[in-house]
Subunit: 355 residues, 2 copies
C-alpha cells in the first residue's frame, strides 16, 4: 500500500454548474499532465494541443478538462523518485508496483476531490487507453462516454518482450545502482537512452521510417565506415534516446512499463472480457490505426467484440495511416473527424449542447 | 586493407572429379561454419543439420559442401578479437569495417584455394542471403544456381534502427572499454545480452510469440509484482541474451550488424538493382516467409523484379508460416520441398544426376 501519495494535475476550462462537463484525459507511458500547456522541462507545447483549447475538438470553452500525472510517474505525482516517508530516502524500487487499476483509483480520488460525480468523457491513447478501459469497467456509472485509442485490453507477448528489453537496458547500466541512483548522485542515462531507442522503433511504422529516413546518410554520399551515426535514422534514434533521459526518471520508466505489461482486463474478470463491461451504459468509440503494430487493429476489435457482447453502445473507427502507433499524437484529419463527431454527439445526448 | 587474414571453414562430402558439385552455404549474422557438425562452444547440432547430410536435401553423398566463417566473425576467421600484427594486441574496433562484398571476396579466395572454378550452388538466409546476392552479382560466372532466403538487397531503415539499438547497448556497457575489453580482461556481457534480446524479438513473429508464450507466467497464477521475470517471454529472452554472450564476441557483433546495414546492392550498381545481375546465367530461387517482418516478402519481390528485368531464370516461393524470420532455420516442410525441387532440377541441368 502506498500512502500518503500526491497527484499532480492540470485543468483547462471551467466546471459547469451541474458538474457534468468534465473530460478526463489519460496520458500514455511517457506522457504527462501537460496536455494543453508547455512542458515544464522541455518547453515543448502541450502534447495534445491540436485538439485541446477554445473551439477545438475538446473545446475548453465548453468542457472542464482534467489531466493528471499517473501514480508512479515523475512529473509531480508520487513516484519512485519521491521521498519514502518511512526511510527519508527516495523510494527507488521500494515503491510498490503500480497497476493500471491503481492509476485509475488515484484519478477517481482526484475526481472525487474536484466534486465530480460523473465524467462526461474519459479519453486516452496507448497506456492512456488502458486507463480508459479500466475506468469504463470499474467506474461504469461515472463515465458517460469513453474513447480508448490505439490500445488493447491486455499487453501482448511481443509488447512485454519489448518492455523487458528496455527494463534490462536500464538495469544493465551500472549507474542504475540497483535502483538507488538518486542517493548516489547518478543517473542511468545510457541504459535509459537505449530503452527509449528500442521503444521508439515500435511507435513508428516501417513505411513511416522508410519515408522519413530510408537509407539517407547524415553526410550525403559519404559512409564513414565506422560506428558513428552514418544513417539519419541512427542519429535520429540517438537524439530520441538522449533527449528522453533529461525529462524522464529511469525507475518511473520501469514502473510504467510494468503497469502496462500487467494489464489484463479480461483476466481481472474471470477470463471473459465482455464481463468487464456487463450492464454498461457508457458510450464507446474505439479507435485504431492501420499501421500500428504495437497495438494492431486486432486488439481494438477484441475490445469492440467484448463491448458488443456486453450490449454496449459502441462505434469503431480504423484510421488508414502509415504513421504507426504514434499516429494518435499526430494530426490525422480522419481521426480528428471521428473524435469530433463522437464527442459532439455525446455532448448532445448529455444535454451539454443545443446543436 | 586487412592482410594477412585467416578463414576458418568446414567441408562435408567429396569434391567430384570435374569439381562441379560444390555447394557454398553462407551463414547469417550470428551463425558460423558449423552448419553440419556440433558447435565447438555450445555442443549444439549443426545449425542446418535437418537439410544437410547423406540423403538429405543438400546431400553430402552427392555434393561437396563448404561453409566458412565470415571475415570479421569470431569462430576462427580473422575478426576483431584476433591479434593485430601491427600492434601485437587484439584489433578491437581498429579492424577495418567489413562489408558483405568483403566477406564474399574472402570466400572466393577460399573457393580458389580449393581449386573450384564454378560453384554448383550458393545458398544462405538473412545475412547469408545478402552474400548469395553479392556472389551472384560479382561472380556471376562462378555460380550455377543461387538461393537467397529471407533476405533483401539492402537493409531497411527499420532494420538499421534495430541494429543501432543493439550497437548502442553494447557500447553503453562500461565493460566494452571503448572496444578494448579483451586487453582489460573484461566482457560487455550485459550490453551484448540486451542487444541480443532486442534482435531476437525481430526474428520471431507476434503470432509465434503469442502461441509459444502468450501471457503465460513463470509461476502459474502468481504475479510477483516486481521486476523479476514474471512472464515466460521475459525469462526466455533473458536466457537468449545470456547464452549468446558465451558464444559470441561483442565487437564481432558490431562489425556484422554494420556489414548488413551498409549492404545496398542497387546503390553499388548506379541505383538500379537489375544492373547488379545483367547478363546473368545463374538460376535463382528466391524464398520469403509470410510472417517475416525483418525481411518481408516485399524485399524478396524487389529482388525477383530485378532478376526478371535482368532476364534471369528465377523462381520465387513465399512460404506460409507464422514463425517469422527464424523460419529459414526451422523445419518448414513447404520450404524444404521448394529447396529440394530447385536443387534437384539444377543438379540435373548441371549434369550432376541422371534422374
Amino acid at each position: 500500500m502506498l500512502a500518503p501519495f500526491q497527484i499532480a494535475y492540470q485543468t483547462y476550462g471551467t466546471l459547469n454548474e451541474d458538474r457534468s462537463n468534465a473530460v478526463l484525459i489519460c496520458h500514455a507511458l511517457t506522457g504527462d499532465q501537460h496536455v494543453g500547456n508547455p512542458h515544464p522541462v522541455t518547453g515543448k507545447p502541450g502534447w495534445w494541443l491540436p485538439i485541446l483549447g477554445p473551439g477545438k475538438i475538446i473545446d475548453t470553452e465548453r468542457y472542464f478538462v482534467i489531466c493528471s500525472n499517473v501514480v508512479g510517474g515523475c512529473l509531480g505525482s508520487t513516484g519512485p523518485a519521491n521521498i519514502n516517508p518511512a526511510t527519508g530516502k527516495p523510494y527507488g524500487i521500494d515503491l510498490p508496483i503500480i497497476t493500471i487499476p491503481d492509476m485509475v483509483r488515484a484519478q477517481a480520488m482526484l475526481v472525487d476531490h474536484l466534486g465530480i460525480d460523473q465524467l462526461f468523457a474519459v479519453i486516452g491513447g496507448s497506456m492512456g487507453g488502458m486507463q480508459v478501459l479500466e475506468w469504463a469497467s470499474s467506474y461504469a456509472d461515472r463515465v458517460f462516454c469513453a474513447m480508448p485509442i490505439a490500445t488493447g485490453a491486455r499487453h501482448s507477448s511481443q509488447n512485454i518482450a519489448f518492455h523487458e528489453v528496455g527494463r534490462q537496458a536500464v538495469m544493465a547500466d551500472p549507474d542504475w545502482c540497483g535502483g538507488r541512483y538518486i542517493e548516489q548522485g547518478k543517473k542511468p542515462k545510457k541504459g535509459l537512452a537505449v530503452a527509449r531507442m528500442a521503444a521508439h522503433i515500435t511507435y513508428l511504422s516501417e513505411p513511416a521510417l522508410h519515408r522519413k529516413f530510408g537509407r539517407n546518410l547524415q553526410d550525403r554520399d559519404n559512409l564513414t565506415f565506422g560506428f558513428d551515426a552514418d544513417f539519419q535514422i541512427e542519429s535520429y534514434l540517438r537524439h530520441q534516446g538522449m533527449s528522453f533521459v533529461d525529462r524522464f526518471d529511469a525507475n518511473s520508466y520501469l514502473y510504467m512499463t510494468r503497469a502496462m505489461d500487467y494489464f489484463d482486463l479480461a483476466a481481472d474478470h474471470g477470463g471473459r472480457l465482455a464481463d468487464a463491461f456487463s450492464g454498461t451504459k457508457t458510450r464507446f468509440c474505439v479507435v485504431s490505426f492501420t499501421s500500428d503494430w504495437l497495438f494492431p487493429t486486432e486488439e481494438s476489435r477484441n475490445i469492440v467484440h467484448a463491448l458488443n457482447a456486453a450490449g454496449a453502445s459502441v462505434s469503431f473507427v480504423e484510421i488508414e495511416t502509415d504513421r504507426g502507433h504514434d499516429a494518435f499524437l499526430l494530426e490525422e484529419p480522419e481521426f480528428y473527424g471521428a473524435m469530433r463527431g463522437f464527442i459532439n454527439a455525446a455532448a448532445k445526448a448529455r444535454g451539454l449542447t443545443t446543436i
